[in-house]
Structure formats: C-alpha cells, structure tokens
C-alpha cells in the first residue's frame, strides 16, 4: 500500500513564500534581488489555482529546493559583492531597504500574499 503524502497546508506555503522573499533581500546585487522577489510573487500567483494534490506537492518541493539555492547563492554573492553598488541602488535608496527594518516589510508583503492567494487571516495553522 503506497502511503499518500498529504499536500502542504496553507501555513507552510505562506512560510515558504516569506522565506523566499527574505532570501531575496539578502542579495547585494540589485538585478538578482529584484528578479528573485518578482519571480517568487509571480510563481506563487501562477500556482494558486492548482487543485491536484500531486501537482501542489511537486510545486512545493520545487519551491523548497529553490529556497535552498537562493540561500546558498545569497551568501556567495555577499562574499564577492563589488564595493560600488549599482546606480539603481544609489539613486533609489529612498524606496529600497536592503538591510533596514525587516518586520515592517514582511508584514506588508504578507498582506499582499493574503490578497494574492485569497487566504483568510485567521486560517488554522498546521
């Protein structure tokens, strides 16, 4: 009898989303940072309509693997980041916060995620 692996619950998916966005903020390179953030949001948005259990599990496993890749590469990019930052970072420092307050940005991002995936704020945690 094959054991059926249950697909991840909503809280786990939310946690993965948050971790991916957090890891994107760790990149010192402007382009990679923006790309990781944008790609994560678009990918979760695209996958929100998945209903098949196995496809949800596959997407979640792929997401976890991408998180590991992002964490490793953020460290590598930080170790070898050039002294001079991109012009976009210098001119737009008012709008971007690379190392600043994390909690405010996370809450704003989390609320965006709620809107994207139509989750209720008081969903039962697993």
């Amino acid at each position: 009898m094959a054991t059926v692996v249950a697909p991840p619950c909503r809280a786990k998916i939310l946690s993965l989303f948050r971790s991916l966005l957090r890891s994107s903020r760790q990149f010192p390179d402007y382009n990679i940072r923006e790309y990781t953030k944008r790609r994560t949001i678009d990918a979760f948005h695209h996958n929100k309509s998945l209903s098949n259990r196995s496809s949800i599990s596959t997407a979640f496993t792929d997401g976890k693997y991408q998180l590991q890749v992002a964490k490793r590469q953020a460290i590598v990019y930080r170790m070898y980041s050039p002294k001079a930052k991109s012009i976009m970072d210098i001119n737009y420092t008012a709008h971007r916060s690379v190392t600043a307050d994390h909690s405010a940005t996370t809450d704003c991002v989390v609320s965006t995620f709620y809107q994207l995936v139509g989750l209720e704020a008081n969903d039962t945690p697993c």
Binding site: Y30, S86, I87, I90, T99
Partner: protein, 436 residues
C-alpha cells in the same frame, strides 16, 4: 537559557552588520573619506555600476546556474574522460546529463550534441569543416551579408583557398529574399549558412522556409542560433537544420562553452578543426570542461522552463522603452523588421545626433552600438550598411538589450538618460531645440 537566547540574538545582529567590508582601525588623521563608491575608469567618473542593457554582448550568470556549477569546481573536479575512478565517472555522468538538457531545448537527441568552446568555434567547425570534408564535389557556400563576423571570416578564408562564396543581400527590414536564395543554389553548393536571430538588429529570419528550400535542393543548412537559444522556440526538425551553433553565455550561462548540433539522419560529416585524443566523437578533441558544460546544461533547462515568462516580460519592457523614448523624441528609427524580431534586441537610430558623443554621454547605461566584436573600430556596422541605412543614421545607432533580470525602473532610467542626452546634443548642435 536566557543567556543563550541573548548570545544568539547578539551574534545574529552583529553578523548582519559586519559581513561586508570591515575597515580596520585607520591611523589616518586627515579625515578625508575617499568616496569608496565612485568608479573612475578610462577617464570617466561614475557614482556606481551602470545599469546593464547589453544582453546581446553577454548575459549575467543566473544564480541557479552558478549553484549547479560550484560543486564541479570544489569537490567533483575529475576529468570526465578518466575511466578508472569515481571522479571521472561522476564528471562524465554530469556531462551526459548536461548534454541531454541542451538537446531537449532544441528537440534533438543527446547523441547529436558536441560541446565546444563557444559559438565562434562551432561556426568555424561548421563552415570550414563541412566544406573541407566535401571539397571534392562541393565548391560553393551561400551565406548572408548580415552574418556574425566569425562566419564571414571563415567564408573569406575559404575564398582564399579557392571556394566560391555567395553573400546574399538583405532587404531593408533585414530579412533575406527567399527567391534570391533559390536562385543562388547550384549543384555544387555545399552549405547554406543563415543566422536565426541577428545579434545587432534582432530580426528573425524565416527559418522554416529556408529549411524547406534546403531540403528540396538537398543542401546542408547551418544556422548560428547563439542569440536565438532560449529566447524563441527552436525545433531542429521543423527548421530542417543539419548544423546549429549554440553559445552558453547568451542564455545566462558561463562564458567559454558552446555546443554544436550535428544531425545524425541524414548524417552530416565534418573535418575536425581540433585534433587530439578523439573526445566528443573525434569532432572536437580536448578535455570537456565539466563545470562550464554543467552550467550550460543548467542554463538550457532553466531557459526551457522560463521561456514563456521571460518572453512576455521582455516584450512588455521593450514596448515601455520604445514608447517612452518615442513620447519625448522625434526622428527615432527602429532598425530592422518590426514584426519579425526578437523583442529583447532593440536597435534605434536617432536623427541628427552623433553616435560616439551619444554613447560617451550614456555612461550610466551599459549599451552598445553595433556588436561587441566591432565596437572597437570607428566604422559603422556592416549589418546596418547591408540594410541600406544612411551613413549618418548608421553612425548614431544604439542597441538596447533587455533580458531576464531587467526591471521597469531600469527601463525608465534608461529612457530618461537617453532622452536627456539626445536633447542635449540636439540643443548644442542647433542652438535651439530642434522639434519636428
């Protein structure tokens, strides 16, 4: 317990602040802090790294590709041709996996892929190798006037050896005339070489139609698909190509690696340009660089997954760029066909503006005029000349390259900088701002 929590939080907060650039205690009394962010190179001072809009010259390595490559530099450093130990076996396995990944992107079989050092080497093998192999019976090569320098140079080399080469002209939009191609094919034609996506103007040639013509006349068809890989869907069977040159660093992979597709049915034979131990089926001897090849394979697999997403995004950004510039400036001409082009390559000419001064003023944007291999010379690009563009418009052309990592803010900033610079040059030249 509380002390443990305290130490972990303390450690975490300290690491966040001290990972980058720790300055040792300086004994300099004059408190002149050098602006560590300012870059001064070749007489130009800029405050930070320019924004990169030159994707046709090369593309940044995707972090996912780098992640796939690093193990093969650090621990799995074996030679894939060593048959006697684990290092060789695991390296060989990685090369074969990469081969399949590249083959899947172009709908070919893994046995038809040969790894080389780049698209230039692939083009050399294709043009010179095929003609030297069939030199008894085939003496004629057909190519276009807008090909990459390496193809044109190989053809020139063949001409010096006594072969006959026809350089097909292109129409004003950059596409070749299919009837002219049919007319140029003779019984001794050994190869037709047409690049899929032009690196300077971005036009996409009618590959399926050319493939049909070559099939009808039974002439091998070679294409340089370095700029097309991962950007437009490629199918070697639909296009009926016998040889295809692919490059790693145009698909967000590492530099120094490429792949040559060689059809097996019907088999195309080439004379090898690199002789040695018979690696890569004797076509290209030399140790296969495992990390680079793994990188190219990972880049191709990524490109297959991301092609649709990237294409939509790049088209949107290109429209934003073009509309932004056209809204503020007149006399902007897009070089090359507007319908049959790859969106990520935008070649614009600005009327009444001098090209070199425009480029010198755009130091905060990394763009190029013409291709990277011809940007050293002062002559206008031969591709634009082949299109029939006037000398002065050809001098003032700029190529914007948009890719996977370009953002909307970068496009807006590029529009702003370009428009400012062009207006400044127009004002200087005429005393008044010339408006049409």
């Amino acid at each position: 317990m509380a002390s443990k929590i305290l130490t972990t939080t303390l450690r975490r907060s300290l690491t966040l602040k001290t990972i980058p650039h720790i300055r040792p205690l300086s004994t300099a009394t004059a408190a002149v802090t050098e602006p560590s962010d300012e870059i001064s190179m070749k007489g130009v001072k800029i405050s930070g790294r320019p924004l990169y809009l030159d994707m046709q010259a090369t593309s940044p390595v995707d972090p996912r590709v780098l992640d796939a490559m690093i193990p093969y530099f650090v621990s799995r450093y074996g030679n894939p041709h060593s048959r006697t130990h684990l290092y060789g076996w695991e390296s060989d396995e990685a090369v074969e996996v990469a081969r399949t990944q590249v083959a899947n992107l172009i709908n070919a079989s893994a046995k038809e892929i040969v790894f080389t050092s780049g698209a230039t080497e692939c083009n050399n093998i294709s043009v010179k190798g095929v003609m030297h192999f069939y030199k008894e019976k085939k003496k004629h090569v057909i190519t276009t006037q807008t090909e990459h320098k390496c193809v044109l140079d190989s053809c020139r080399h063949l001409q010096q050896e006594g072969f006959d080469v026809t350089y097909l002209p292109v129409k004003n939009d950059g596409l070749i005339d299919l009837n002219e191609l049919k007319g140029a094919i003779r019984s001794v034609t050994g190869l037709v070489s047409v690049m899929a996506v032009n690196n300077e103007i971005g036009v996409i040639q009618p590959m399926e139609e050319i493939g049909e013509i070559c099939k009808e006349f039974n002439v091998p068809f070679h294409t340089d698909a370095a700029q097309a890989l991962g950007k437009i869907p490629i199918d070697v069977n639909k296009w009926n190509v016998s040889l295809m040159s692919l490059s790693g660093h145009k698909v967000y992979g590492p530099k120094g690696v490429g792949a040559l597709y060689m059809r097996r049915r019907p088999r195309i034979r080439v004379e090898p340009q690199m002789n040695g131990g018979g690696q890569e089926r004797g076509i290209r001897s030399g140790t296969v660089p495992t990390p680079l090849v793994v990188g190219m394979g990972a880049a191709c697999e990524l490109a297959m997954k991301e092609m649709e997403y990237d294409e939509k995004r790049v088209t949107k950004l290109k429209d934003r760029l073009l509309n932004g510039i056209r809204a503020k400036l007149d006399g902007v001409v897009v070089n090359g066909s507007v319908e049959r082009r790859y969106a990520g390559n935008l070649n614009l000419s600005f009327a009444y503006v001098e090209g070199e001064s425009l480029l010198m003023g755009l130091k905060e944007v990394a763009v190029s005029s013409g291709s990277a291999c011809t940007s050293a010379s002062l002559e206008p690009s031969y591709v634009l000349r082949a299109l029939g563009v006037d000398e002065d418009m050809a001098h003032t052309s700029i190529r914007f390259g948009i890719g996977r990592f370009t953002t909307e803010e970068e496009i807006d900033k590029a529009v702003e900088l370009t428009v400012n610079q062009v207006e400044k040059l127009l004002t200087n030249r005429f005393g008044i701002l010339k408006k049409w």
